[in-house]
């Protein structure tokens, strides 16, 4: 017992060194999981991280008894010298963790539903945060538990500053001690600090920060935030107005005049509503993504269909290489990308006959390269960099957010986007991932396992 206490004190000390110094999020949970397990004698464990953007929990690492025993031995030999933290900070965690199991659980997105409600409720009402897995109804978590052969586990939320960053599952569940709280609080705080750093870095990347015009970009960001507050207020007020107007209509005596008034008011209200919603789509681009292998042709066809409802003078030609038939992504978001691009081409071309959009898709290694080219005249070369920036618009009715949303979605898909002028129009090149588990020869059979 006293032995254990001393051991924990030591580990806690080493652990605090690690959470202070480790700057890589992945390595942080890779390193802290085994330490927590060694300290409290858990035999199996898994770390889950909450993804704000995807609004789900991602399993990040799982550790079983065998690998842990190996580490325990190292701990014994390093602990006397007080160098375990040093060892772990330098250790190659990939060899430790690139087991089949970890490959399997990563990429499994666990939707936040019943389980998250459970954690949130425990947190809000300040009840005990340790929970047995029998109470977990979430089928994804159940699957991880099954895969890990964990029947019953402690369920420990990792929280920081009123937000949740993830949770741990640990077996056997009877190892609960109050010291465990220190470790978990520490881990939660450290994770949240690293996540915040990453978010700031992402935001900087999104706004394309370069040292010269940080001030201007900062302003843009502020404008974005203000816009979102304003539109929130407007939308809130509109909802009441529109709802009440719907009721009012029942009391209005129908005549040629009144019908026309009603129609105008309604269509204008709808227009403001849509406009406001558009602006906010930009400032709240945290829409959940649901990525899966998709038939690229379906996605393109649907986007064309939807675009045709606005303007069907445009001629689309689509050519997809056989090897590029499947793309990995979120159906709605990719449609949104295409629709925004098509809309721009149509708006740039204007109201004459002869507008064309050509879409080509080919495969390059792990990527699908999608080229979308119009004959709408393009932009000035020096504008090429500007057009993707938030609020950049040359239109009286535009928000200037169309391409920012496009860029954000493509980035969120781990892809890339580029614009260039061609002879008579603009060409957009988008790089997207091909589904990972489909090799080039295999794609055809698996083509429509989307549904």
């Amino acid at each position: 017992m006293a032995d254990n206490y001393a051991k924990n004190r030591n580990l806690l000390y080493e652990f605090s060194t690690i959470i202070e110094r480790e700057k890589d999020l992945h390595r942080l949970y890779f390193i802290s999981l085994p330490i927590i397990m060694i300290a409290f004698g858990f035999e199996k464990g898994a770390v889950f991280k909450y993804s704000k953007r995807k609004r789900c929990f991602d399993p990040k690492a799982g550790l079983k008894k065998e690998s842990l025993e190996e580490l325990s031995k190292k701990w014994e030999s390093f602990s006397k010298k007080g160098e375990f933290a040093e060892y772990m900070l330098k250790a190659d965690t990939s060899t430790l963790y690139e087991t089949d199991y970890n490959k399997k659980i990563r990429g499994l997105n666990i939707p936040c539903n019943d389980t998250s409600r459970l954690i949130a409720n425990m947190f809000i009402t300040k009840t005990d945060r340790l929970l047995k897995t029998e109470k977990i109804e979430n089928k994804y978590i159940a699957r991880v538990l099954r895969d890990m052969e964990m029947e019953n586990a402690l369920y420990i939320p990792l929280t920081a500053k009123n937000s949740i960053v993830g949770f741990l599952l640990l077996t056997p569940p009877d190892k609960k001690t109050s010291d465990l709280k220190f470790f978990c609080t520490g881990l939660g705080l450290a994770m949240s600090a690293l996540i915040e750093d990453k978010e700031i870095a992402n935001l900087k990347r999104f706004l394309d920060f370069n040292e010269d015009d940080i001030k201007q970009k900062q302003r843009l960001y502020e404008i974005g935030k203000t816009a979102s507050t304003i539109t929130h207020e407007i939308k809130n007020a509109l909802i009441g107005i529109m709802g009440l107007f719907n009721k009012l209509k029942n009391y209005i005596e129908s005549s040629e005049k009144t019908d026309r008034y009603v129609e105008i008011i309604e269509s204008e209200l709808n227009r403001i509503y849509r406009f406001v919603a558009d602006i906010n789509k930009f400032s709240s681009h945290y829409t959940p993504t649901d990525k899966k292998p998709l038939n690229l042709k379906d996605v393109i066809d649907r986007a064309i269909d939807l675009t045709n409802t606005i303007n069907n003078n445009f001629v689309f030609s689509v050519c997809i290489d056989k090897k590029a038939s499947t793309v990995f992504g979120d159906r709605n978001q990719l449609e949104q990308v295409l629709i925004n691009l098509f809309k721009n081409s149509i708006e740039a071309y204007g109201n004459k006959e002869g507008g064309q959009i050509r879409i080509r898709a080919k495969r390059e290694g792990e990527f699908i390269i999608l080229k979308i080219r119009d004959n709408s005249g393009g932009v000035e070369d020096k504008q090429l960099k500007e057009i993707v920036k938030p609020f950049y618009t040359t239109k009286t009715q535009g928000t200037g957010l169309g391409l920012s949303i496009v860029k954000e979605i493509v980035k969120e898909h781990g892809g890339d986007i580029e614009f260039k002028n061609t002879q008579n129009g603009l060409e957009c090149t988008i790089k997207l991932s091909a589904p990972k588990n489909i090799t080039e020869g295999e794609y055809e059979q698996k083509e429509d396992y989307d549904n």
């Binding site: 998250s116 409720n121 947190f123 809000i124 937000s163 939308k235 809130n236 909802i239 709802g243």
Partner: protein, 119 residues
């Protein structure tokens, strides 16, 4: 069977009026409050069967109110509603029983209310 009572907390006059009328038409008893504090003060007296709660309100925020309601009466279903889905990622909202993005069309909200009350 007696009428089910819905408590509505929203700072927007028009929305309170709209919700009140719409839910009364559906046969519910409705109590409206324009801020969280007032609603909490009357919570024991009102004993609502369900709460519809706006998130962005001046004074006590909807999230705070949610925490308090869940402390007083954990089993009373609470629907969080807001004009935008921003807050969905906010950890506290998970403690709510449902999350609705406000819209002039109340169908979705009404369905949620019905569903939660029949649980």
């Amino acid at each position: 069977m007696s009428k089910k009572k819905i408590m509505i907390i929203d700072d927007e006059d028009a929305i309170r009026l709209l919700y009140r009328e719409e839910f009364e038409d559906e046969g519910y008893e409705v109590a409206v409050y324009e801020n969280g504090q007032a609603a909490l003060d009357s919570f024991e007296k009102e004993k609502p069967d369900l709460v519809v709660l706006d998130i962005a309100m001046p004074g006590m925020s909807g999230l705070e109110v949610l925490g308090k309601i869940k402390e007083i009466s954990p089993s009373t279903p609470v629907i969080m509603s807001t004009a935008y889905s921003h807050y969905k990622e906010d950890f506290y909202t998970w403690a709510a029983d449902a999350y609705i993005v406000k819209s002039p069309d109340l169908t979705q909200l009404k369905e949620k209310v019905k569903e939660l009350l029949s649980r």
